[in-house]
Symmetry: C2
Subunit: 461 residues, 2 copies
């Protein structure tokens, strides 16, 4: 620290009121002295110019973000991890920093929170072209101002009357292009086969060729028929992703028609729009994940997925669909588990959200997901694994339930398949050839009856 002026952006955590600060973990790469870079980093995200010209004042004690801890991981690199527009003009240091940011600077408002902790101050701090927000920790005093999930995991389970197993979702496919009647027929079949939740694809909106009004009326009626035939609760998860000024209206329309859960694409709509909907909603809200990967996939730049899982929970989602296990989703198993944990771990007064790690799932991937999650508190969300099943969606849904029966009984899934035709057919249709490359596309499968669902299908598809 060359200059005592900058020491005002450092603090010992013990001297700060823990209720007044959000704690942030970042990695960053800089040229020059890491402690100075860290001080600038805090200045830029809080009170960058902390006194008026000519006046003897100091706004930092109340308004300054502070470096609590700075670790120089490596100080002699010759390049940044990514070419971010310029070459370093000196040795590059890779650092980890923990920052205390006074939330009184902006208040319990998601857009202002985002602007402060991952806005211009973070990504344009001088000398720091490469930075990633790794984690965020809120004091209960801040969390208390948020509503969080209305139902949470327990409330969601109560709606479905299911307490001892994962929740079985399915994305009705074909996802884009079917008229409401055909779409509804597929949903009914899947419920009758054993799905708990039949859902719209995240790309299916309120369109002229499949209007939400007609779709939700047909699916709402089909859901009630399925409940009546099976004797158990079912859920139709309608996608109301749309302009924010339509969401309350679409909520009311879909729920009146019998949709009993609603899907919203969190980032495309904006977390603040979700929070607005949460204050109005009378049914569970389910998040889908478009537009998170572009700022979270790379190891050393952007914003970690766990930050966004926490923010989605804060915004009020009861269920969070996320990129799941396996190489297909470009997300390490550890990272998926961290996101599962971000849904379920204690978070002050905010209820847990049900994690749904998705990625080209079918009956044969259920055990992997269960083993990785380590409990039954998750949702499982095949698409083609149900709706591309060669015997149809009822059999597709049944194959999932058969796989779970085997897992719950401690029986090998393949052995169980020998006496269960639907599970057996799923294995023949969806298990990748043993020698297939892990994710390279395979061309020899027509769209309706693909055999290598693992290889070809996106996310929950």
């Amino acid at each position: 620290m060359k200059n005592a002026e900058w020491s005002g952006f450092f603090a010992d955590a013990k001297t700060l009121d823990p209720d007044a600060y959000i704690t942030l973990d970042y990695s960053f790469e800089c040229v020059g002295a890491p402690d100075l870079a860290a001080a600038h980093f805090c200045a830029e995200q809080s009170t960058a110019q902390w006194r008026r010209v000519g006046l003897d004042e100091d706004l930092r004690p109340r308004f300054g973000a502070r470096v609590l801890d700075l670790e120089v991981v490596d100080s002699g690199r010759t390049a940044f991890s990514y070419d971010a527009g310029r070459r370093p003009d000196g040795p590059v240091s890779a650092c980890r920093v923990r920052v205390a940011h006074p939330h009184g600077n902006f208040g319990p408002r998601i857009p202002n929170l985002l602007s402060a902790v991952c806005g211009e101050g973070t990504f344009f701090a001088p000398g720091i072209p490469v930075v990633k927000l790794l984690d965020i920790h809120f004091p209960d005093a801040y969390l208390a101002a948020f509503e969080g999930p209305r139902f949470g995991v327990q409330g969601f389970r109560e709606l479905l009357d299911i307490y001892d197993r994962p929740i079985f979702f399915g994305v009705i496919k074909p996802n884009i292009g079917l008229p409401p009647e055909a779409f509804s027929d597929l949903g009914l079949e899947s419920w009758l086969g054993g799905l708990d939740v039949a859902k719209d694809d995240e790309m299916l909106a309120d369109t002229p060729w499949c209007p939400l009004a007609q779709r939700s009326a047909l699916l709402g009626a089909a859901r009630q028929r399925a409940e009546s035939e099976t004797g158990v609760p079912k859920m139709y998860l309608a996608n109301i992703t749309d302009e924010v000024d339509r969401m309350v209206e679409l909520h009311d329309l879909a729920v009146a028609n019998g949709a009993n859960a609603l899907l919203v694409n969190a980032m495309p709509v904006g977390l603040s729009g979700v929070r607005m909907l949460r204050r109005h909603a009378r049914v569970p809200l389910i998040a889908h994940f478009p537009f998170i990967a572009p700022f979270s996939r790379l190891e050393h730049f952007g914003i970690h997925t766990r930050v966004f899982t926490k923010l989605q929970r804060l915004a009020g989602f009861d269920v969070i669909i996320m990129p799941g296990f396996g190489e297909r989703m470009h997300t390490s198993d550890d990272e998926v588990r961290e996101n599962v944990n971000a849904c379920l771990a204690p978070m002050g007064p905010i209820k847990p959200s049900l994690p749904v790690p998705g990625g080209s799932d079918w009956a044969g991937t259920l055990k992997r997901v269960y083993d990785n999650v380590g409990s039954t508190d998750f949702g499982f969300v095949p698409g083609r694994g149900v709706f591309g099943h060669p015997m149809g969606p009822r059999a597709g849904a049944l194959s999932i339930r058969q796989a779970w029966d085997a897992i719950a009984a401690g029986v090998d899934v393949d052995a169980h398949a020998q006496h269960h035709a639907e599970l057996s057919a799923a294995i023949r249709a969806f298990r990748p050839p043993a020698d297939a490359p892990a994710v390279a596309p395979s061309a020899d499968n027509p769209a309706g009856e693909n055999r290598t669902g693992e290889n070809r299908t996106g996310g929950e598809r």
Copy 2:
């Protein structure tokens, strides 16, 4: 192309109705055959499973996204540009692809547009861990459903009665921590010195220590006083970034109090929230850029800034503040110019937005910005360059106007400074030492009187 089934995701542009498709340019890196990867890419972002099991149907002709053009830039790489979670299991091909996406799949709705063109289909297409959306082109038939800017460049100029020069903005500093009275005093000084627009920082929200009601009342009155004293229109740009369900209320409050333009952080609020506000707003809307860098900075991954500039214009911003010229903002001059162009170029029925390239500006950087933009259709937005001026903000504003007088008269700015004390003082205070590193932080400048504004100050700060 191994399998004729996949040819349904290719098309000759001449065979498609141009009004029915959005055109998208992507770069991507894949293992395996590029044409198959491109076909999968189109499938995943449109009708991934394009027929029901057992039925002879094909949803692709109407609903399929199509490869119009595929260029393999390099086919023998041994690694992806970024380690995106796995090592390639074969040679990596770097490609450029132009895709036609039928907008009837989702309609003129920003969240659904984002979900389709940069959602799960884009970032989780099989075998494509590295992808960037480079550009987006809308047919007029699609644009016609959007409002776009209410004022545009011409309307914004009319409000200020300025037609022959750039618009001079300034961010009132200290940005965080001042009470409304002190903040208002600074704004008044800056208007009297020659600023057209005095603005709130993008991090300054409606907080207990500086409530928007009180701030906008004081600044609104100060603005009117400045107009009366100077005889020219002035603008107070109030930041109403907040939860979306407060924005209409805050609009009404601020405008009633005398704010005559409003700042919104586009991504933190969400572009759909902005569009909602646009339908209500009676004053110009100005965008700030937090949360765009994390998905746009890297060359080969994410979403290009020009896409977001176009989308911000589409959402209805009259003015778009963006990372500007020089190394400080980690954005190449070419990229800034492309964003300027995305604001100003014809876009069907959508009015132009005024570009404001920002980045540690002061009087001495004005000529660089003007030369780079190539016209007077831009805004210039210093922070400390006005409010950190050693003679105070009135002199800071005057130094900017003096610099412009020199530029407009074809006089060297340094020569002009010899007879203009404010400009001369700005040069002494803010010009980086000739031997200073380009962006490394410099420690020997206390916050109030920094001499190397170029080095230390973030964005418009």
